[in-house]
Structures are given as C-alpha cells and as structure tokens.
C-alpha cells in the first residue's frame, strides 16, 4: 500500500510539474460549469455505481493554477457531495487540459447489498466509511468553444476515502460538462 501511495504521489507530482511548465491560462474570470458524472464505488465486498448532476465554479488562482468548488447531487439515491479542487491547467489554442487533486465530503458511499449472503459483514464494514475523500483528477478532453464557453468530456477521477486510504476505491467519470465564463 505504501508503494502504491508513493507511486500515486509521484504521478501527481509529475503531472502537475509537467503541466505547470506549459502555457498559462489567460482567464481571470469565474467559470460556472454544469455537467453529468458517473461514479463507481468499491469497498471490500461491496460494489456500487451511481450517477450525479453537478455544478461548480472555478477560477484561475495563480498563473496556471486553478481552484474549483462544486456540488454533485447523486441520482438514485439522491445524496450530495461537495468538493474543492486545485489543479494545474494550461491553454494551447482551444485545448485546456487540466490535472490536480480534489478533496470532498461525500454522502454517496452508500451500498445496496441486496443479497442476504455476506450482507451483515458488508453492512458492518460499509457503515464506517469516512465521509471525506481525496482523489486525483485528469481532464484531457477540455476545449474552449468560444471566448466565454468551454466544454469537458471524459474527465477521470480516481480516489479513496480518508482514514485507511485504499479500503475504498472511487472512480468517477465526468461524462460531459459545459462551462460559461462570467
């Protein structure tokens, strides 16, 4: 686990450094984004998929470092998740790739264990998942459509909950989102 964490941190550092060497983004406006994402949760014997609508606001904080905060409202069951993230973003013509870290508070780690077999041990384990999570995100398919409008597709996010990180795996794909700079 320590090796995996170390490798993960190296990857994050590498990506952040490599992106930070590139062109800075010339946009100091607040961008409001809305989109749709799919989430896959795994915890020992439990497995759950869910989807969510999300809305967020982002702004370039310093040179090509961006900050973002948002909320995701899960569908079936409707459970919220709030997050903040910091990433490094650059702009090459219309392409706006971004990578960084996200910290969030999630109520979406709820598992429906429909079978009776293993249900007691699953429920016992599932009920003490820490609500805070940390994840790495990469956004390779982000494009500027016009001066004020941008779009993202297939953002990938991989993370786990705080406290014994690695017991849970959350893989999220932001399928599509649209942004408007104000």
């Amino acid at each position: 686990m320590k090796n995996a964490t170390f490798a993960f941190m190296k990857l994050v550092l590498f990506l952040c450094l490599s992106v930070s060497l590139l062109h800075s983004v010339e946009n100091d406006r607040i961008t409001i984004q809305t989109g749709y994402s799919a989430l896959l949760y795994q915890h020992i014997f439990s497995f759950q998929t869910s989807s969510a609508f999300e809305i967020s606001a982002s702004k370039m904080i310093y040179q090509n470092v961006s900050g973002q905060t948002g909320v995701r409202i899960g569908l079936d069951p409707v459970l919220p998740e709030i997050y903040i993230r910091a990433g490094v973003k650059h702009e090459i013509k219309r392409w706006l790739p971004e990578a960084g870290l996200e910290i969030g508070y999630s109520k979406r780690s709820r598992f429906k264990n429909e079978k009776l077999l293993l249900s007691e041990i699953q429920n016992t384990m599932d009920k003490d998942i820490h609500p805070m999570y940390l994840s790495f995100y990469a956004n390779p398919c982000s494009f500027k459509i016009s001066k004020s409008i941008s779009m993202r597709a297939c953002e990938i996010q991989i993370g786990s909950h705080f406290e014994r990180m690695g017991r849970t795996v959350r893989i999220q794909a932001n399928l599509f989102s649209l942004g408007v700079s104000l």
Binding site: M1, F45, L116, L117, T124, M125, R164
Partner: protein, 337 residues
Amino acid sequence: MKTRSIFNLLIIGFILLSCSQTKPDTRGFENAALVAEDVIAENLMPWIERLALLREQDTPVDNTGFEENDMFPSSHLTRDSAVVMVKNAFITMGYEPYIIELSRNNLTAYNVFAEIRGTELPDEYILVGSHLDAFYAGADDNGSAIAAMLEAARVLKNYSFKRSIRFAAFDLEEFGSVGSTRYVEAGYAHDIKAAIVMDMIGYSSEEENSQDDVMGIRLPDKGDFLFIAGNDNSRKMVQQMTALNYQYNLTKTVGGIAAGDGTSFLGSMFMRSDHGLLWYKNIPAVLMTDTANFRNKNYHKSSDTPESLDPAFLYRNTKALTAATALFAGIQLQQAQ
C-alpha cells in the same frame, strides 16, 4: 563534493536498510514445538466422523431469503448438533464452556467458547477460531478445523501460559461470517491480541496441478501444503508460524501476506472467513487453510466426507496450530497439572 558523497552513501545505506530481510523472532519456538508433540493423531478423525453423523440427523438452518445454488447449497446447512457436541467436548476436557447467542433478523448465531486463563497477562487473549456450521457432512469444511481446535484445546489445557487463550467455535460462517461478525461488532473482541482462524485444513493432494492459484497469486502446483494468510498487522505471526513449522518440521507451509490491512479489492479473497472483521478492525489475525475451493473439489458438496480427507495432513496441521497457539500465548515451561 565530499558532502555530496556522504549524502549519497546515506541514501544507499537507507535503501539497503529498508530492503533488509526481517528475521522472525524465534524465542519460545522450542517449547512451543515440544507442546505440539502431545497432539495425538488418532484423536482427530473421530471428531470429524461424529460430526458428519450428527449432521445427517440434524435439522437444517432456516435459509429463507438466502440463495441456493451448487456453490452455496444453503438449504443443507446444519449447526445445532455441532453446537452441542463442541460444548460437551469442552466440558469433558475440564473446561467451563459458554455460549453467546447473538440474534438479528430472526437468525440467531450460537457461538461456543472455552478459555484458559493466562498467568501474567490474563486480560490479553489469543483467539483460536473455527466455524461449526457446515453444508452436508462438512468434513473438511469445517469438521477438520473443529477437530484440530478440540485436540489443541485438550493438549493446551495441560500447560500454563502468560496470556489467556480463547477457543471459539463460530456459528453461521457459511451465511457470511455472521457469528464472528456479530461477536466482533458487539464488542467481545476488544481483548484479543492475536487470532488464529482455521477454515478447512484437512484436504491435501500429491497430484501435479492439484492446486489452483488464488486471485493471481502463484501457489505451488501440488496441493500438499498449509496456507497461512495474514496482513500487515499479522505479518510477524505469519513469519513466526512458517519459521516454526519449517524449523521443527511440523507441517509444510506457504505463507501469504495481503497488501496493507488486506481489505483492498484484491485482498478481499483472503477475508472469506471468520477473521475478516478482525482484519477490518486491525486486530492481528491469520487464516490457516488448505485454500478451500482452490484445491478441494468437494467444496460445499455432499462429497465433502471424512473419507476424502488426509488424516496425516490434518495431524501435521493440528500440531502447527497447537505450537503456534502455545507460542503466541507465551508457553511457560512447567506443566499446569
């Protein structure tokens, strides 16, 4: 330049240090192995045969709501007669066994316990666990482990230990470690310092390719070894047990340590028994097994009968269990009686 060389040397030294092999602590090995010599091979199979006969006449557990298929024949699970037999066996040996009943959702688990009180650290327990419920005759799964536990209990009763020992026969493991989960959840496991859980330890095969790999972990081709699974918390236990078994030729052992606390997705295959929640709660625990369905083709079938077992293999594993329990409990030289 000189500072840089010193720095490089320090880095290399640190890397070498972090790569160095950790030798297991071998203190107490000799006494532990000596205790294991008291295990009597002829005592083991009669327990399994008696359990198999009792199960034939037992009423199956109500399996309402549970699935029923070839791998999980839920309508053939029995436990009532095993509860009585294990309790009476402990009484015969001079123990004062007790049953903890834990009910939920119209399903009651009857866990049977017996204890040896430690002399110096009586509030620290070494738990020796195995499940008493079984499908069909349940010779390997889990009559073999019950027999080993009872024989170890008989032997260890004659000695004194620094720590206390708790023998536990957990109920309803086959329905998803129900008995042990409720036991841990109810707070009874707070005094457990280490646990040895057994699930199927009586089947072996000398044939080539008789052993399947477990979740991508390469195992020897011949299924003639005892597998001891641990995690980071029980790494030292696995190391000591494999070293003890090897040094005193107790039983052929392969040790496996799951990454981290063993609760990751890939590690979950190693959590498939009564030690599962112990791992989750960071209590050091190991699983002793013949690898179940990765070796034994009679797994959860009516063919899991006493005749399918290897009594010599079971005998060796019982010696390994007895020695390991004596070691972790801190065997004291003089006999209690």
